[in-house]
């Protein structure tokens, strides 16, 4: 018996969420009196996972799996789970992982609970707390099946150091042609910039910014903070910004440490998607804007005055604190 955790990497390097899910797996393993085993695909520094309490890493070195492929990855993880006699599989909430998770659940006949926000309430019966109703509520969910899959919500558990020594083993999953019946032909992705999914800080603009030509200052503010940029739904519907930036109930969820909303009114559908962000700042001309009720800090003011000042002062602040 063990707890298996899928630790995601990109170009050989672990993603930030890999350390969070590894920490979570360690916690579950402790509660169940067992150990945590990680599975990684073409990762270079597997021993790093030991710092987060993983005691064994199954590393797959396989050129066919250089590019993410949901079915092939799901099948490899399923095979590892069976080999290890795992009863619990821990996953992240990345787009890739949310793609493979239901395939894995279907294949293993496992109960899958996504968006989990804390250590299990109990492991017998196995019960976890997760967000539901697009962050307007929480559910405590019991999993009845022998095999259980937990999707940990981004940034909800955090990475915790638990130094251990991780042994690293090569793992060669059985692959067959059917695994590659969906093929990646092209990836169009920003590189070297924080994404909404994993950024610590997200700077978001709404219709209050009047037009796409005014996004220069939003991008500059994001640059100064090392933040990802996002927007409200009408902004993407109007074509001012790409769809991938639309956050909210029908867009992407945001679970950053800091969310800065500029010229966004704070409609219920928008708030639902950003309520998991820890600290929220609102800049809006209208003191009655509903977003102020959901915010931690706010400035009632014109974005076209406040944002340029904020950029200047932050540059100075960064220079001082560098």
């Amino acid at each position: 018996m063990s707890v298996l955790v899928y630790t995601e990497s990109e170009n050989g390097k672990f993603k930030k969420n890999a350390f969070e899910v590894a920490s979570y797996a360690h916690e579950v393993a402790q509660q169940m009196g067992t150990s945590a085993t990680a599975i990684s695909f073409n990762a270079d520094e597997n021993a790093q996972l030991g710092n987060y309490g993983v005691s064994k890493v199954l590393n797959i070195s396989n050129d066919q799996l250089k590019t993410f492929n949901a079915k092939a990855f799901a099948n490899a993880i399923a095979e590892a789970a069976q080999k290890e006699g795992a009863q619990v599989i821990i996953l992240s909430s990345s787009a890739d992982t949310k793609f493979l998770a239901p395939l894995l659940a279907g294949k293993l006949g496992a109960g899958y609970v996504p968006n989990v926000v804390g250590a299990p309430d109990s492991t017998s019966p196995f019960s976890v707390k997760r967000t539901a109703f697009s962050n307007k509520g929480f559910a405590h969910t019991e999993i009845a099946t022998e095999m259980k899959i937990i999707g940990v919500s981004n940034n909800s558990f955090g990475a915790h150091e638990n130094p251990a020594t991780a042994s690293v083993e090569d793992f060669n999953p059985l692959l067959n042609d059917g695994d590659f019946s969906t093929k990646s032909v092209d990836i169009d992705k920003v590189v070297g910039k924080a994404t909404i999914a994993d950024a610590d800080i997200v700077v978001s603009g709404g219709r209050g910014l009047k037009g796409p030509e005014n996004w220069g200052m939003i991008e500059e503010l994001a640059d100064v903070l090392g933040a990802a940029t996002a927007c409200s739904k009408p902004v993407s519907d109007l074509g001012w910004r790409p769809h991938g930036e639309h956050v909210g109930q029908t867009g992407k969820p945001v679970a950053s440490n800091l969310y800065i909303a500029i010229g966004i009114s704070g409609a219920i559908q928008h708030l639902a998607g950003v309520s998991s962000s820890k600290v929220k700042v609102v800049i809006n001309t209208d003191p009655e804007a509903p977003f102020f009720k959901a915010a931690d800090y706010g400035i009632v003011g014109d974005a076209f005055e406040v944002v340029p000042q904020l950029i200047e002062k932050l540059k100075a602040f960064k220079a001082q604190n560098a």
Partner: protein, 246 residues
């Protein structure tokens, strides 16, 4: 091409979320139910397939009789036939097994579901369905073209998008991007009249296991009051010293 659009019946996005029966049930009192937004994009995309390439479009929901207005709306938008599996959809694995039976019996080439239901946010029914039937699967799908047996799908990934090539039979978990907001169709009078004459088959559920159960719900803790400041220096200082966010 035979297309099945899977529709989940969800509270309108403006709904206030409350719980009842000792916080063990979602309180549906005063709640308006609608077609899950992610499914609405898929339904419109299916109508385009029908109009441009020729396809028959069926819709299916797993739900009690109270879901029929939602499924009638899908018929009014233009689906040809509807299937309702008469069971409470309390678990994603259970729902996927029910839909798998519908897909097997109907021999669909393309199954369009949504990325997630906006109520329980499972994000799993289409993927589990694909796994159960060994059909190809693309999640967070924001564009889909079908040419004969070949399909090209665009998928949203963290920080961008990915183009995928695959073949039918295919299941997708779709979202906005499949069609745009402005492409969505609102049922007109003629559609509503025609929907009354269309077939709504009610089938009983197959024996299937439930994998999970929600035992208790909670509302988020009330938020403290916002701190308003009137200059950016104070804001930066609070974010640094108090919130430790920068």
């Amino acid at each position: 091409m035979k297309i099945l659009v899977c529709i989940s019946n969800v509270p309108d996005t403006t709904s206030k979320i409350n719980f009842t029966e000792g916080d063990t049930k979602f309180d549906t009192n005063g709640v308006q139910f609608v077609i899950n937004p992610n499914d609405e994009f898929g339904l419109t995309r299916a109508m385009w397939f029908k109009e441009k390439q020729g396809a028959s479009v069926h819709v299916a929901t797993v739900g009690s009789p109270s879901t029929e207005p939602t499924i009638r709306k899908a018929l009014a938008i233009g689906a040809d036939e509807a299937i309702r599996v008469n069971a409470e959809p309390t678990d994603g694995f259970f729902v996927a097994q029910q839909l798998a039976e519908v897909v097997k019996n109907g021999e669909y080439d393309l199954v369009i579901g949504g990325r997630e239901s906006i109520d329980y946010n499972g994000g799993m029914v289409p993927g589990i369905l694909a796994a159960l039937l060994d059909m190809n699967f693309v999640n967070t799908c924001i564009g889909l073209e079908v040419d004969g047996n070949n399909a090209t799908a665009m998928r949203e990934i963290d920080g961008g998008k990915e183009k995928i090539s695959t073949t039918l039979p295919l299941v997708i978990g779709g979202q906005k991007g499949l069609v745009e907001e402005s492409d969505l169709r609102i049922p007109n009078m003629r559609g509503i009249m025609m929907a009354r004459k269309k077939t709504l088959n009610v089938v009983e559920p197959v024996d299937a296991k439930k994998a999970t159960q929600d035992t208790k719900f909670e509302k988020p803790a009330a938020k403290g009051a916002v701190k308003l400041v009137d200059n950016v220096d104070d804001l930066i200082s609070l974010l640094h010293n108090e919130a430790k966010a920068i």
